[in-house]
Amino acid sequence: MSETKRIATREGYGRALLELAEEYPNLVVMDADLAGATRTGVFAKAYPDRFFNAGIAEGNMMTVAAGLAASGMLPFVSSFAMFATGRAYEQIRNSIGYTELNVKICASHGGISVGEDGASHQCLEDVALMRQIPGMVVMVPADEVEAAACVRAAVKYNGPVYIRFGRAAVPVINKPDYTCEIGKATVVREGKDVTIAANGLCFTAAMEAADMLAADGIDAEVINFCTVKPLDEETLLASAKKTGKVVTAEEHSIIGGLGSAVAECLSEKLPTPLYRIGVRDVFGESGPFQELLHKYELDAEGVYKQVKAFVEK
């Protein structure tokens, strides 16, 4: 694994915007003074006439994007996950969700891996906020390749989509020709003892954890839930039926994210013992991101330990 390239998922966002610009002449991009960080800056540089900086005013930006979409444009709107989904939640809910407008909300700096900036900038509730808006698609890609694939899938879909990207460089695990489909989870590693449903950087951690569990004789099935909503219930239920134990793993609060989505589905349709790996109802803190992932047990070792404890309970 040490040879694996490491690139932040936000890089895949910027790259995909550039790749799609010619094919979609109505594609425009907005940012709230974070174009360098969210990587919309690469689009701004190449297509300055199609990039609009709203300044530090996220609420207005979201609703302007709604107006653009209502008039035939295809707006991508970016900021940090905290400010996009937190500050501008109600604008997204009323002007983009309720209207079913074709706005793509692409937020960077999701999760605790924001690192040193600390809790004010580490959004651990964006998936929860976006998931409860009727009709909103919610995606959390695991690597740079999947990030670009999510953007391509979002462009082909007519309606509001939220995609969460990260700041930290994470291993690139998918091949360049990888594609993803909205609403489709992928069983990436088959197993019979426990299902690990994961996304974002926790998906990669779960894959590594599965190797460690195998060494202990635990055969884990790992599913990539890149799309949290709509949840691929069929894939989840089939796996839960086979393994009889489910663990979710995400760089998000255990409240409201993938863990909750899985819990809601299983408890209604196939009650199955479940353990949610995530940030356990606390705010984050400053620190180098690897150290934070380790402290909050979201790295491979953390996932391994928690899955093992759950399976052996």
């Binding site: 709203a54 609703t63 709604a66 109600e90 309720y98």
Partner: protein, 275 residues
């Protein structure tokens, strides 16, 4: 269209407002009545809209940023022929296209769903910007409440409109001086409204919002392609046309009972007879 004809239609819109809110037993007559003349002018004189083709990409856009004045919008739209007048009595009822606040997914001809104050003006900015990008000649119009100016988002949008030189954006402030909890001054005054918009780079026109000569003149001047967004500050009377509602704060969000309904309708019938 002559002023007399506009006044007759506006009076019909006012009756529509009273009828709809009375049938619904709720709604917002006060701020609907104050904006009835401006909406009538927009739908009958100012905007290029076609009731038979409400999605024409070249149409002017309208966003009722003060979405609670939906009864006035629905009245103007029905009078203009967007939908049958009988439907006005379905206001706020289960299954209606006339939602309590305008919804673009329910009623064709509504360009943006509104109701949460401060957002409509931003949406209108987006529409104006799209018009520029698509090289279309349409304008984006939006009516805001004066109390709505207390929302920070209005000023985010104003900054944006000015910075992006959206001279195809025309805002109208329904300046009736009353909001739910009292007068603007009693609640949290956004005054001076004209100076604020000027400071944000707008070209500002201050008019009597019930005088069709002044309304006509302001919209004519507001069409200038001079790189600046426009704000028409229209002094109005909340509850205009209904004797017991005029300038009474309590009629912001309350419908008439049966007795009040009869008085209100008689007021408007009497007014209509003088036109």
């Amino acid at each position: 269209m002559e002023n007399r004809q506009l006044k007759i239609i506006a009076n019909e819109v006012r009756k529509d407002i009273i009828d709809g809110t009375h049938a619904a037993k709720c709604g917002h007559p006060g701020g609907s009545l104050s904006s009835a003349d401006i909406l009538t002018y927009l739908y009958f004189e100012e905007m290029h809209v076609d009731p038979k083709n409400p999605v024409d990409p070249d149409r002017d856009r309208f966003v009722l940023s003060k979405g609670h004045a939906a009864p006035a919008l629905y009245g103007a739209m029905a009078e203009r022929g967007f939908f049958p007048k009988e439907e006005l009595l379905t206001l706020r009822k289960v299954g209606t296209r006339l939602q309590g606040h305008p919804s673009m997914r329910h009623l064709p001809g509504v360009d943006m769903s509104t109701g949460s104050l401060g957002q409509g003006v931003s949406a209108a900015c987006g529409m104006a910007l799209a018009g520029k990008l698509l090289k279309k000649n349409y304008r984006a119009y939006s009516i805001l409440g004066d109390g709505e100016l207390e929302e920070g988002q209005v000023w985010e949008a104003a900054m944006f409109a000015s910075a992006k030189k959206l001279d195809n954006l025309i805002l109208v402030i329904d300046y009736n001086n009353l909001q739910i909890d009292g007068t603007l001054a009693e609640v949290n005054s956004p005054e001076p409204i004209d100076a604020k918009f000027e400071a944000f780079g707008f070209e500002v026109f201050c008019i009597d919002g019930h005088d069709f000569d002044q309304i006509r003149d302001a919209f004519a001047k507001a069409k200038e392609a001079n790189g600046r967004p426009k704000a028409i500050i229209a002094k109005t009377v909340k509850g205009k046309g209904v004797s017991f509602m005029e300038n009474v704060c309590g009629w912001h969000g309350k419908a008439t009972n049966d007795a009040e309904y009869e008085v209100a309708k008689a007021d408007l019938e009497r007014l209509g007879a003088t036109l």
